[in-house]
């Protein structure tokens, strides 16, 4: 474990002060959510994969708690505590410790205890404007600290949905591919499954049931499943109801009826996923791809172009901006724009800042509705390392 030197501590404190002053001047209220958080919210948002990276513990009362692995979820919870209406607009900024277990062992660029300085904004209806402003403030803060050499990488998880529309993918396949997009491994399988006749075989699922269920005959279908269980002396137990099971059998049966994804749609999807490069030319690449698509480009590219224009207006030098269609797929809770700031002083796997849109998160944190949310966090130790290195 790295023992911190006083000099580092002072440098980090000074840096945090600079970052926070940029944030507060821009109208973000400084908050300090609890370091110890209920584990539930985090594990429910991100699933079991994050548990391996989170310090989870049980307190003397048996409550499952964690040391916050980031400050975004705690800020959502703070917002919910303050406002009965979660859609109330608000802007928060923070600076404080976060904790992550490092499976390869803690290092200087991947410490287990680090400081995050960040901003979160909730309830903004002007989506692209809020996104561009968030990016611009983070870049401004980083430059104010003294880092000159930075690059910005963008991704857009919403754009994929539009690509599917353009490719004229059926609603069923679209929903499934959209769900699978965030998980690269299952996504590849899904593409393969939906494209081939292989999905017609559902090994292990009783054939007679698949032919017995029909959506337009719901009650009859459910009864057929009940009879099957009874005849095979299988007890219905657990959380999933007869309706849950019948519904999924229907999905399997419907998948078999559905026309396989056609080759042109698959090619479009695969070529889109492969798009990467300078943000300005990436837009052109996507436009060229979608031009040949069945339903044309639609609104997808308008959003993309508007966002770039807004970034340029906010003073971001677009020649430093790249786009990758794949980027953001494994970043847990993001739902639209995703971005990260890198510096050539550090390796590409150690971004200095990252953020994006996460409209679904407030709901997981306890709100009854989705709330527009954009935010970003700066990794303080990395920013300091890059700034020091850049000044040498």
């Amino acid at each position: 474990m790295t023992v911190e030197t006083t000099r580092n501590l002072e440098a980090l404190a000074a840096q945090a002060q600079t970052l926070m002053s940029v944030f507060t001047k821009a109208g973000y209220e400084a908050v300090a959510p609890s370091i110890i958080q209920p584990a539930d919210v985090f594990l429910d948002v991100i699933g079991e994969s994050l548990r391996a990276r989170t310090y989870v513990f049980t307190d003397q009362d048996g409550a499952e708690l964690c040391l916050r692995p980031d400050i975004t979820v705690p800020t959502c919870r703070l917002h919910l505590e303050r406002h009965a209406d979660p859609a109330t607009t608000a802007r928060y900024c923070y600076n404080g410790p976060a904790f992550r277990f490092q499976p390869q062992g803690a290092t200087a660029s991947h410490p287990r205890e680090f400081r995050q300085a960040g901003i979160e904004r909730f309830g903004d209806k002007a989506r692209e404007a809020a996104e561009a402003e968030t990016v611009a403030i983070v870049v401004k803060a980083i430059e104010k600290v003294g880092l000159k050499d930075w690059t910005l990488k963008l991704g857009d998880l919403g754009l994929f949905s539009s690509v599917l529309d353009a490719a004229d993918v059926s609603p069923n396949w679209k929903k499934r591919l959209d769900d699978a997009f965030l998980k690269p491994l299952s996504f590849r399988n899904a593409l393969k499954d939906f494209a081939s006749a292989a999905r017609v075989e559902s090994p292990g699922v009783p054939e007679e049931l698949l032919s017995a269920v029909r959506r337009d005959e719901w009650e009859k279908s459910e009864a057929a499943v009940a009879v099957y269980l009874e005849e095979n002396a299988i007890e219905l137990l657990g959380t999933r109801s007869l309706a849950d099971i019948t519904e999924h059998l229907m999905v399997i049966a419907e998948d078999r009826q559905e026309k396989p994804l056609d080759a042109s749609a698959i090619e479009l999807i695969e070529r889109y996923v492969g798009v990467t490069g300078p943000a300005t030319t990436a837009g052109e690449k996507i436009a060229a791809l979608l031009k040949g698509a069945k339903n044309g480009a639609g609104a997808a590219l308008e959003t993309y172009d508007r966002r770039l224009a807004l970034l340029a207006n906010a003073g971001i030098d677009l020649s430093r901006v790249t786009f990758s269609a794949e980027f953001g797929r494994t970043l847990a809770y993001y739902s639209g724009l995703v971005f990260e700031v890198n510096s050539s002083c550090l390796d590409a796997k150690s971004p200095i800042a990252n953020g994006g849109r996460y409209d679904g998160l407030m709901r997981v944190a306890g709100a009854q509705v989705e709330v527009p949310a954009v935010g970003a966090a700066i990794h303080s130790e990395r920013l300091l390392a890059a700034t020091v290195k850049g000044a040498q």
């Binding site: 079991e48 769900d179 998980k183 090994p203 699922v205 299988i234 137990l237 999933r240 999924h248």
Partner: protein, 241 residues
């Protein structure tokens, strides 16, 4: 002179089977001193010090290197030592203590036969019930590694110390990862094993710790013990390992 230490299970069926196995190999293990004590020795192998350790702790002792050798289930080694391949040498599968670590779901889930199907129901389940499906298990690490290797991450682990098979019926979890030998308990609790749900086929193993202090003399004694034990392991069990 310090001796080579061998940890064997201190009670229960694993201890009996270990003692039987040693007897078949012509080795008599006996306790030293008080009958309730936790030290022992093997007739004919005077350079081995036997430590009776609860089977759950043998993995930890091997990991730390506080014993040279240990007899315990492969499941416990793999669960408790994340880098077992570098820390532990599996010297000999012993042909008892068979247990499969498996993924089991309610048998009434006629729509779910594989991990892939689990993945398909996870998101609809969450939309309906507001959380990911829960997996009751004491094999937290094996579960995470197994599902991780299949790209499945949409679940919550509920740590379960015992009677895990009852968790789905009790509404404590949706599915389980547990050990089974005949599948009898699973069936009695209305559960079925997924078609691709065998995580590990485990049995008792003689294991060596790479973290312990080894001398050429210890290596020689260890080889002698391994040879004696392997001669009395049924061929079928040995090939299973």
């Amino acid at each position: 002179m310090s001796k080579l230490t061998l940890a064997i299970p201190s009670k229960g069926r694993l201890m009996e089977q270990t003692t039987d196995m040693f007897a078949r190999a012509g080795l008599v293990v006996r306790k030293v001193g008080h009958v309730r004590g936790y030290r022992g020795e093997i007739d004919g192998l005077p350079d081995i010090d036997v430590a009776y350790v609860s089977s759950g702790e043998i993995a930890a002792a091997l990991k730390a290197g506080s014993v040279h050798l240990g007899i315990t289930g492969e499941d416990l080694i793999r669960e408790n030592i994340s880098d077992a391949a570098t820390r532990i040498r599996f010297l000999q599968a012993l042909g008892f203590g068979f247990a499969d670590v498996i993924v089991a779901v309610p048998a009434c889930w006629v729509d779910v036969a594989t991990v892939h199907d689990l993945e398909d129901i996870a998101l609809p389940f969450r939309r309906l019930h507001g959380r990911w499906p829960r997996v009751a298990t004491k094999y937290v690490n094996l579960t995470r590694r197994f599902f991780g290797s299949k790209g499945f991450g949409d679940y919550r682990i509920i740590e379960s110390a015992g009677a895990t098979e009852g968790a789905p019926a009790a509404g404590m979890a949706e599915l389980i990862v547990d050990i089974t030998t005949t599948g009898e308990t699973l069936r009695a609790n209305g559960l079925k094993i997924l078609d691709d749900g065998v995580i590990l086929k485990s049995q008792a193993n003689l294991c060596a710790s790479n973290a312990a202090a080894w001398t050429p003399e210890f290596e020689k004694i260890c080889a002698e013990l391994t040879a004696k034990l392997s001669a009395s392991v049924p061929a079928k069990a040995a090939s299973r390992a």
